[in-house]
């Protein structure tokens, strides 16, 4: 019920402060998430333990004040909230390895692309609190977009805890598992589409005579500003677009070029392609 959820949210807020967080796998995504949590001040570095087979990735974690190890089991033994962040083909083996150390107090959150809740639950002890999270790289600057889905063993408390913790890194929403691949196509990969667009904007400016460094910074700020207006006003982007277009002015001339190039359809194609690929990869 509603009161139950409120209680869970309060518990979630309390627990975050005493939380011991572990990362199995210390690659780019895990690092981004951890750095986001640290910058947000949600979890002290000393409460974070990360494991990886080599030191290659772990140096950066140590520099931030986190603890590191080469032993995955240690992460399970030391942490309550455990993020799984290995490459997809490695995960099944890792799950076999850590399974003996997984207990009812653990909250296991998988960041691994393409591995379903069903698979995770099959490879972990019955009733384990499992959730699946799809973040994106801007978590590292507290401007991430994240969605998560809960497995059968995870309840309101775990969902609230995760949402509370991760909201410090950006937008964090619970979704049905079927949306996770779509989120990949939209926002996981979407970040790359934005970089491509920013690069093209800057190039246009360079062509018209602006130095590239300046053009790049302005392009980024333009995207940031537009996104901020959209998020803060909640207005439909079509309406916001119209607001910028004075009759016969520069903007409408430019937009006509974009429409001629079927930009909208191309972007839809991109999101569709990435989503489909995520689905295909999951089945492999």
């Amino acid at each position: 019920g509603r009161r139950g959820l409120e209680g869970a949210c309060r518990r979630g807020a309390m627990e975050a402060a005493e939380l011991r967080v572990g990362f199995v796998g210390a690659g780019r995504m895990a690092g981004g998430l951890a750095r986001g949590l640290l910058r947000a001040g949600k979890v002290p570095a000393s409460s974070i333990l990360a494991s990886a087979p080599t030191d290659k990735n772990l140096d950066a974690w140590r520099e931030s004040g986190c603890r590191t190890t080469h032993c995955n089991l240690e992460v399970l033994q030391e942490s309550t909230l455990v993020f799984l962040a290995t490459k997809p083909h490695i995960l099944p083996g890792v799950l076999q390895e850590i399974r003996p150390a997984v207990g009812p107090h653990h909250i296991v959150v998988s960041l691994v692309a393409g591995i379903t809740l069903q698979t995770l639950q099959r490879l972990l002890p019955a009733g384990t609190k499992v959730l699946r999270l799809m973040p994106n790289l801007p978590c590292v600057v507290q401007a991430g977009a994240m969605v998560f889905a809960r497995g059968s063993g995870a309840g309101d408390g775990e969902a609230a805890l995760l949402k509370n913790l991760l909201s410090s890194c950006g937008l964090c929403e619970e979704v049905p598992e079927s949306y996770i691949n779509i989120h990949t196509g939209l926002s996981g990969s979407g970040v790359a589409y934005v970089y491509l667009f920013a690069e093209a904007l800057a190039e246009g400016a360079v062509k018209m005579g602006m130095p590239s460094g300046l053009a790049s910074r302005i392009a980024a700020q333009t995207l940031l500003g537009a996104a901020k207006v959209m998020l803060e006003t909640g207005e439909h982007p079509a309406k916001l677009r119209g607001d910028v277009c004075t009759p016969g002015g520069t903007t409408i001339h430019a937009l006509h070029q974009l429409e001629k190039g079927a930009l909208r359809a191309t972007v839809m194609n991109a999101v569709e392609a990435a989503t489909k690929r995520a689905c295909d990869m999951a089945e492999d």
Binding site: H236, A238, G242, H256, E259, A262, R264
Partner: protein
């Protein structure tokens, strides 16, 4: 019902036109004399083809009095050109330029007007009142009239084309043609009505129709892939630019007046351009039956 038929007078050199009998049946007074209609009217609609306007103005100029409001619906004919022509007869002619579209015939027209130097606010309001009875009517600056032509002047043609194609789509998927046409037209009518009655942006209204992963969003993706939006932008732009071109050509008066007069008089008899000058005590009958008077 804004005007009684007997208060409307229409004139045309050619009494064999199908539109003439139609008007007569409605109870409109008909005459072959433009001068007569001018004398018995207050508001004069000039509904002739653009190249004929100068000749009509020459013909009726002497009979124009201070009370007359001359309304030109001729595409590309500027207020200043009409005022210049009339100024030889009348020091302060009241001229209003208007651009409308064919759906006035079902009272869903889109009309704009621009007032000339000597037309008062009340004169504009009178026209607005008349045209509002057959659809939407608003005042604009004259320099926007070309853009209006591109959008709502030509607009019904874009819609007819779209409807024809939508019906084809329906037929392809198994619907009988008549039903397909009926449903397509109703869909566009309904959508337009929703938009006009809503505060929401069309983009939002579109979203409201598209359930996630559903049929509509799949279809829209096809439209976007085909550059649907840019095609429509191109169309409005092309129509507007062409209107300006034609106006420019007319201004330059490249053709000799005598040649025009003869050619057009012959053409008038062969084609069906409806009325030349139509006027009435309060209003003139609008040439709703004949789209050719608006052809560029």
């Amino acid at each position: 019902g804004v005007l009684a038929a007997h208060k409307i007078t229409a004139s045309s050199p050619d009494t064999d036109l199908p539109t003439v009998s139609g008007l007569r049946k409605m109870g409109v007074n008909f005459t072959v004399s433009n001068k007569d209609t001018v004398k018995s009217s207050d508001v004069l609609f000039l509904a002739v083809k653009p190249p004929i306007i100068p000749f009509i103005l020459e013909e009726v100029g002497p009979d124009i009095e201070p009370r007359h409001i001359v309304v030109s619906c001729a595409a590309g004919v500027t207020i200043s050109s009409i005022e210049k022509k009339l100024s030889t007869f009348c020091p302060t002619p009241k001229v209003i330029r208007c651009m409308t579209n064919t759906p006035v015939v079902v009272r869903e027209g889109a009309t704009v007007y621009a007032t000339g130097t000597h037309a008062d606010v009340e004169d504009g309001k009178l026209l607005e009142q008349l045209m509002a009875s057959v659809g939407f009517c608003t005042e604009v600056e004259e320099d926007l009239i070309d853009a209006v032509t591109g959008l709502s002047g030509s607009g019904p043609a874009y819609a007819f084309t779209a409807l024809d194609a939508l019906a084809d789509g329906g037929v392809k998927m198994g619907l009988p043609r008549r039903l397909a046409v009926r449903l397509g037209a109703q869909a566009l009518l309904g959508a337009a009505k929703m938009l006009l009655e809503s505060e929401q942006h069309p983009g939002q209204l579109k979203d409201n129709v598209c359930s996630p992963g559903g049929a509509t969003i799949h279809a829209l993706h096809f439209l976007e892939s085909g550059g649907f939006r840019s095609l429509l932008i191109n169309a409005v732009e092309a129509s507007c630019i062409r209107t300006r071109e034609l106006q420019h050509l007319a201004d330059q008066e490249k053709i000799s007046p005598a040649a025009i007069k003869k050619t057009l008089l012959d053409k008038v008899k062969l084609e069906s351009p409806s009325l030349s000058v139509a006027s009435a005590s309060k209003v003139s009958l609008f040439t709703s039956k004949s789209p050719s008077s608006k052809k560029n």
